[in-house]
């Protein structure tokens, strides 16, 4: 083979692309233990846990990326890391869901929004009155 086998690595997160380029080797924190991936690795799908993805570039440098978790797809010449921007764990997610539910319940209980609506209506009436006065003034002078 004329070319040395290399991998194409894409690391993306929902909030942006983190890395895209060729690599000689990739290390990733898979859910069942760290993995090192060379070119021509067998196709693999795995979930990642929080940790460091290390990319050995073709030039021999090493680049580090922190991922909060995510998933990784490995094809013989292509590695795709779908990284989470946030730290994920079952109980953290659960707590966040609970908080979202509570906010909804509180919002339904809380009637203060209706008061602010009354205030807004009063404000509107005042503005309308002002406009009417202006209109009268204009007619008077014009």
């Amino acid at each position: 083979m004329a070319d040395a086998p290399s991998l194409h690595v894409d690391i993306v997160s929902a909030e942006g692309e983190i890395y895209s380029g060729p690599a000689a080797m990739v290390f990733a924190p898979a859910s069942q233990g760290d993995l090192g991936i060379y070119p021509r690795h067998a196709p693999l799908l795995t979930l990642l846990k929080a940790g460091e993805v290390r990319v050995h570039t073709v030039e021999g440098e090493e680049q580090h990326f922190f991922v909060g978790g995510g998933a990784m797809e490995v094809q013989p010449h292509k590695v795709t890391v779908l990284a989470d921007t946030a730290l994920r764990a079952k109980d953290i997610d659960e707590a966040a869901a609970l908080a979202a539910k509570q906010r909804a319940e509180e919002a339904l209980k809380d009637r203060s929004g209706l008061i602010s609506q009354a205030e807004a209506l009063a404000e509107l009436a005042r503005a309308a009155a002002q406009l009417k006065m202006l209109e009268r003034l204009r007619k008077l002078r014009g």
Binding site: D10, V12, S13, A14, E15, G16, E17, A30, S31, Q32, A42, P43, L44, L45, T46, L47, G70, A71, E73, Q75, T80, L82, D84, T85, A86, L87, R88, D93, E94, A95, A96, A97, L98, A99, A100, K101, R103, A104, A107, L108, G113, Q117, L134, L137, R138, R141, G142
Partner: protein, 286 residues
């Protein structure tokens, strides 16, 4: 000079309002650009995610995840994204109108409706309808983060998993261009976007852990990324709508100032004329 002082104060007040609307217009313009950037950045993730999910379902045709299964729609969940702040023209009103159409359509079919509201404007609007609100998050700011949305989306996904929802929709303002934002309704669950036709390669994967767990994790993240995209797109739309609304407000304020100035000048002139004629009349009498 009766009346001229009032007009002068009015002119000053309209001028200061105009200053504010102009500033808001400029702020919205720069924020819109940044939001558009983030919209672009979110795209590759969703695409790659779809690819992987496509590969996975292709390799495992026998396993069917509940998120991919079509079932009879007895209860429908709707995630509505709205802004936190006003002064954005008819943006929220249009989104709510579209949502109400969707709700009416499903209610016509006899389906139960549950809502999930992102943004405080939606909360204020929809809580008057008396429909159950399962989850709510507001105050995401101009830079929504995925981590602020996870909990909210999870409530809806859990409800779907437990069979309390059979469909999940997302409604948000779609950013067409700076002048146009239109409400868009997207079906999140069951997932429809899967198009496995264009996959040429067929991979025999090693799974770590088993395929079902991976698919579950992927689909959950896919839905989250869709909601995140919706939130970012909504921010871009909000800023564009505010920019246009504030430009119109500044222009109107300018017109109002011109008119008031004219009235003021006329009043001033009339007062001078009156005074002069009084002096002349007085002199003639003497």
């Amino acid at each position: 000079m009766p009346g001229t002082k009032e007009i002068r104060t009015k002119i000053a007040s309209v001028k200061s309002t105009q200053k504010i609307t102009k500033a808001m217009q400029m702020v919205a313009t720069s924020k819109m650009r940044r939001a558009q950037e983030r919209m672009k950045l979110a795209r590759p993730y969703a695409q790659k995610m779809l690819n992987v999910i496509g590969h996975l379902t292709e390799a495992n045709p026998d396993y069917c995840h509940p998120f991919l299964q079509e079932r009879e729609a007895k209860s429908v969940g709707v995630i509505v994204i709205s802004t936190d702040r006003g002064l954005a023209g008819a943006l929220n009103a249009n989104v709510f109108k579209q949502t109400l159409l969707l709700l009416r359509e499903w209610q016509g079919k006899g389906a139960q409706i549950s809502l999930c509201l992102i943004g405080s404007k939606g909360l204020n609007f929809f809580r008057r309808l008396g429909l159950p609100i399962l989850a709510n998050v507001s105050g995401l700011g101009d830079r929504p983060h995925v981590k602020d949305l996870i909990g909210t989306v999870k409530v809806m996904l859990d409800a779907y998993r437990e069979g309390r929802l059979d469909r999940l929709y997302l409604v948000n303002a779609q950013f067409v261009n700076t002048m146009t934002q239109k409400p868009a309704v997207e079906q999140l669950l069951p997932v429809q976007a899967l198009d496995t036709d264009d996959l040429q390669e067929h991979w025999d994967y090693i799974y770590e852990p088993e395929a079902a767990a991976i698919l579950d994790g992927l689909l959950m993240r896919y839905i989250e990324s869709q909601v995140y995209r919706g939130a970012v797109e909504n921010v871009a739309s909000e800023m564009a709508a505010r920019m246009v609304a504030m430009k119109a407000a500044s222009d109107n304020a300018g017109k109002l100032i011109n008119e008031l100035q004219l009235i003021y000048n006329k009043a001033r002139q009339a007062a001078i004329t009156k005074e002069l004629s009084e002096i002349v009349g007085g002199a003639a009498a003497v």
